[in-house]
Symmetry: C2
Subunit: 414 residues, 2 copies
Amino acid sequence: MTFQGVKGTRDFYPEQMRERKKMFDLLRDIAKKYGFKEVEAPAIENFELIKAKSGEEIAQQMFMIEKRSDERIALRAELTPSMTRMFINKQKEIPKPVKWFCISRMWRYEAPQKGRLREFYQFDLETFGSDKPIADAEIIALAIDSLNSLGLKKEDIVIAISNRELLQGLLDNNNIKEIEKTMRIIDKKNKITEDEFKQELNYLNKQQFDSIIKFLNAETLDEVENLLNEKGKKALQDLKEVFSLLNIMGKSEYIKFSPEIARGLAYYTGTVFECFDRKKEFRAILGGGRYNNMIEQFGGQPCPATGFAMGDVVIELVLKKKKMWSEANEGVDYYIAPVNKEYINKSIEIANKLRLQNSVEIDLMNRKLAKQFSYADSIKAKKVVIVGDETKEGKVKIKELKSGKEQEIEIEKI
Amino acid sequence: MTFQGVKGTRDFYPEQMRERKKMFDLLRDIAKKYGFKEVEAPAIENFELIKAKSGEEIAQQMFMIEKRSDERIALRAELTPSMTRMFINKQKEIPKPVKWFCISRMWRYEAPQKGRLREFYQFDLETFGSDKPIADAEIIALAIDSLNSLGLKKEDIVIAISNRELLQGLLDNNNIKEIEKTMRIIDKKNKITEDEFKQELNYLNKQQFDSIIKFLNAETLDEVENLLNEKGKKALQDLKEVFSLLNIMGKSEYIKFSPEIARGLAYYTGTVFECFDRKKEFRAILGGGRYNNMIEQFGGQPCPATGFAMGDVVIELVLKKKKMWSEANEGVDYYIAPVNKEYINKSIEIANKLRLQNSVEIDLMNRKLAKQFSYADSIKAKKVVIVGDETKEGKVKIKELKSGKEQEIEIEKI
């Protein structure tokens, strides 16, 4: 009997880890260039915190810890509640805006499917303290730069942007009372047929339904203006500014007004956005938006906030599809091969010296030279240092494995 | 009401995160120089795996996931079981030795105390496939280099080394049958008085007791030789080779033969070691050793293994005590300050350009210049770029916050 990992989790062997880490370092670099600071929160949180955002039902999709005493603990499924908690605990003393990011793991207790696993990494960013469109534009630009840094260009991806208040303003303006229900149907429009869509909205009158269709078919911001109430028109102004700022930021070819984007119901309060591969072969690559009510709802002073999150599962699928993901084995710089046991001490001295600047392996198995070479080959060592009789004259042989070139060199000069 | 994190977990704000990340990067760098490759395993594992190493009782110290179906899942408390599982799954195809490391989080469901938290990071290294003393010596040297890289010198730390078979050989040689019990008492010798120690071992005869005392008081390897049976003498040879190799590796001033080190009972099979601060103010900083039976026990082909683990909690306490831990705020390179809304577009252009090489914040709040300066001060920005009327002549003012020096510069030349 051998053991397997938990379903929906992944083992990261060196090649997989290296590529993932490279991705995280690129994302980290972009976040820092925008002045975001890295933070980390616990992987386990009191369930009360999570419930405050998502309600009791969310427990069904989470890894809940077996209770002892009255602590009710869960493995986090997203970072925003924890970030918000951390922000509130420093809210008084910390200068605003606060710009934080985190690259870490989350967990969801559900059946794994394509693009959704039970354990995944997430790149998460939040800006606390600014209610201005420029704060939204900034994180969208950052999202685009992040994806750029991974190799994705304007031909590959598009950011669909809207504002939650538009849809709200449309429904209010058309006297539609079934807000939640209607939004939920609109949210899934792309996943159902036109007939089904019509059928599901059969509680609306013709004029209401036509307004929704007109709204959803709008390609420019100006087209929707007349369909909105005053609050919706105000939100439209904000959204126009987001677009105008993104144009100045040089992102016009990545962004698209997408009136159907709602991203859930209670959480977001303003700008909302999602990034897709242009062929729509995959789920959303990332998503985010403005959530101005959560801090107050969590017991803090009222404070606006905006952010986004990107999981590692979909982006990996996208990058693999585009051949931008390489799980190559990175060999060590040097493998030190004593020709026999007698030369181990000398080999250690050479390894010590080379390790100041290089990655170095040394024979740990007392193997014959031929076996050492085949090991050095298999681990893709760049050079093998052969430590033998030449050391008596202060020399070693160095062989480059790729070219097969071999030369004798003074130990002093390595 | 505001929310608090789970007891025994930590929130890492930017200053804390930065120092921790610096530490991890230093450790990572050393591991790579020794030819170790980074891997990662899931944070959640089937409890069967953990039980195979530690028995059913360990569930009492672990975060167990509330059961659904028949999956019994736990948050990992250490990495070795997962690493071993990963190794076994590739055991046939992967060239030996396999040298892996991981820097990640673990969880223990117990009451937090000084140096022990419920959630902690761990730097973990394993070498699979070599039964030679050089494999043990290598990871001990690596442990020392790691601590060196964090600033700890020979005056600060010592690695206490022994071999599990010595103690076993001593007890066998003295015909002591209560192996487990006796080892457990010896293991806690330093935590109890001499009288208590004697009292607890009252089932031994005088000659047996004296042998143990003689063994424990030994300062050199030669002193214990006569106290051991044949198997113990063989282990002593291995241990002598570990010391001799560590001397060649330049580590003689960091290591000490410490016959009392046993590190638990069933797990280790050969070399064992722990690192302490020399004043013994703290718990062990790291610990490890050889475990040649686990792979077979987990269902793999018999294969020797050696490794160590270092948590982040004790090392942080040690480094703080020695003033080698600095949670300084690292400011952004540039803060871009538009003098009023009219100059936001120009400011964005400048930010875009500077972000190619620097970390840059820009006003997200439409604040007056004075407020922007006080914010730039509070986030420790190095330079403030003031974007105003001078831009009409293609210029901006740049102020260095530390020196107060201000100069006008052409935008092209920034």
